[in-house]
Amino acid sequence: MLRDERRRRLADAMSEARIDALVVYGNAWQGDYLRYASDFGILEGSGIAIVTADGRAELFLDSATEIERAEGETSGLALNLAPDLAHAVAKHLARLGNRRIAAAPQRFLPSYLADPGRGFALEDGTALFDRLLMHKVAAEHDALRRAAAIADEAYLVFREAAQPGRRQYELTAAVEAFLRRKGCPDNFMILGSGGKDVLGMTPPSDRLVAAGDLVTTELTPAIEGYYAQICRTLVVGRANDAQRRAHALYLEALEAGIAAVRPGATAADVARAENDVFRKHGFGDYVTDQYTRVRGHGLGLFADSKPHILEDVHTNLVPGMAIVVHPNTYHPEVGYMVLGDSVLVTETGAEVLTRTPRELFETGV
């Protein structure tokens, strides 16, 4: 079972690092570490799991609604409702005496726990945990494949919903309702619609979809907590020549990025392969942080996991990692455009998980 395998891997990593206890923080934004340690997908408030070297785990949640959910959705954990989370966890840690304790992700830990006056010291266990999150096992790949399959289906729903006269948030509603109907409990999506005025994607606004708009989205549904992402662009109506030329550029960049995915390559190699295509065609200015954030990122229990695909990130790609490659950026002739697929790093290269054709779709025609 995936939950047991994660706990075993975590216990092994702690043993190897000679850590006696690991303090793992999470909230709905940065919930991957906590989900890995406790199997609980937190939605509201904050949670902290304390995992000890003997494999035992105790979960503290500050939301009474969430503790009820954790009682029904997890097993093998001691659960504590702790409205005063930092103080409750501090009291527990104080009982561990001078044993070696690490925390992950340490940056997000309540400041009360990091205060040197607490009587315990917390080392930074984030890097140890990041390795577990990035280097995935077969059961995690299976969840990602299923998430990618439902992402493909959800994009079809998005295409059908993106009709002239509909508001952006109605498109999101259609996708979310579809996912819930299928039993998929979570998704991350942002979108954009319009032309050269659109610099990126955001949560939906009440802007009306109009003829001629480029409509962009990244859809990121999760299965068993594992997120897979698809990025596509469609045109409301017939695509014009400029839009087609622009899309061809993004397609070339995506293909170059995916071709660069293989064991031994780095995140920087993939980013460079994508960006070189833009530079080759005279659009090098548009791969800077003025116009784009990342050229892809890791996938897993967080929709925007490590490694970030950037030319200055030198994380090695190893078999089992999952990333999305997406040369999303602004194009000066047509506006913001996206195209991206989820991939697994294999022994020989990349297994592409999302199957939606890499087309510039036309809708409302």
């Binding site: 029904g72 997000f108 948030y169 998704n187």
Partner: protein, 351 residues
Amino acid sequence: MRRGLIAWSKAELPEAALAARVARAQVAMGQAGLAALLCYSNNTRPAAASYLCGFVPYWSEGVMLLPREGSPYLVVALSKRVATWIEATSRVARVISTGRFGAEAAKAIAAAGGGTVGVADLDNFPAGIASDMRGAGATLADATALFAELRAAADPAELALGARAAAIAHAALARISGAEADTGAAIAAVEDHARVSGAEECYVSAAPDLAHDRRLLRIEGRVALGASYAIRATVAYKGTWVRLARTLVRDPARADLPRKAAERFAAAVASLPDTAGFAGMTSWLIEGCRIAQPLEPLAGARLATPHALEPGRLVTVQATLEIDGVPIVLAAPALIGAAGAPAALLVPPVF
């Protein structure tokens, strides 16, 4: 991560309402000797910052800084490219986008003359940001009590947004026909309506078969619905959060039980802040917003140390009670009465 409609409607959240909140905060800051008030925000702890400036991050994080005089401003980790979106959805003087926003926030405070920075919920402020700020010379003090007192009683704008959120959740739950075969169909009906109605967020949980388990869970996969089941909608609308729950009993001879339970529930709510009315119920919980968490537990059967339910506070009440041996789950938002008025539900429970 948030994917509903995040928008600032000046008709629903007037500039004057936000300005009045800021002015009250600045008076309290002056009395406490604070040079600035800092409210940390991410998408699970957005409520303190959104109370003062309307900002709700759909993901990532940042801090809202309110100087002793003037308008609040934001220092955020979100990219520069969404600064326009932030400015359109918030009432702020400026937006600073930067990776190391703790240090940048400390620099901005120093540039404005320095002084002590009051942090709402300092104990839960992320350690890395606190460290960055202190490293850049900021002096942090706990402003939790100051902030909690400021926002205890709901103002007319918060009440109106709460009423709108409640109406959305009520109508969304009413979309369940009772003929749905499984949780997927019921949850989709609720969530679709809530999002199409402009909800900023919607979490739907279910107890698919109350005869076996009364806990409301986030359902993965599709689960068959039992003879009686409960669905809860947690809806956020422009920064204000409420919960409503509905129990459906399929047996026509017992279909009236939720209505009977709702009458007892409403009577118990009317006696708040006295919680004695909930004593005979299987479980009960009162939540509301004190600082940054939109729905923080305030009182309940499982809470050892309840918070005060101040007059004029907007709360969400949940309870499970048994009627003729059938568990009925109910939830609805309520306003704790001010000036001797009884507490009142914002909308009646759905049944």
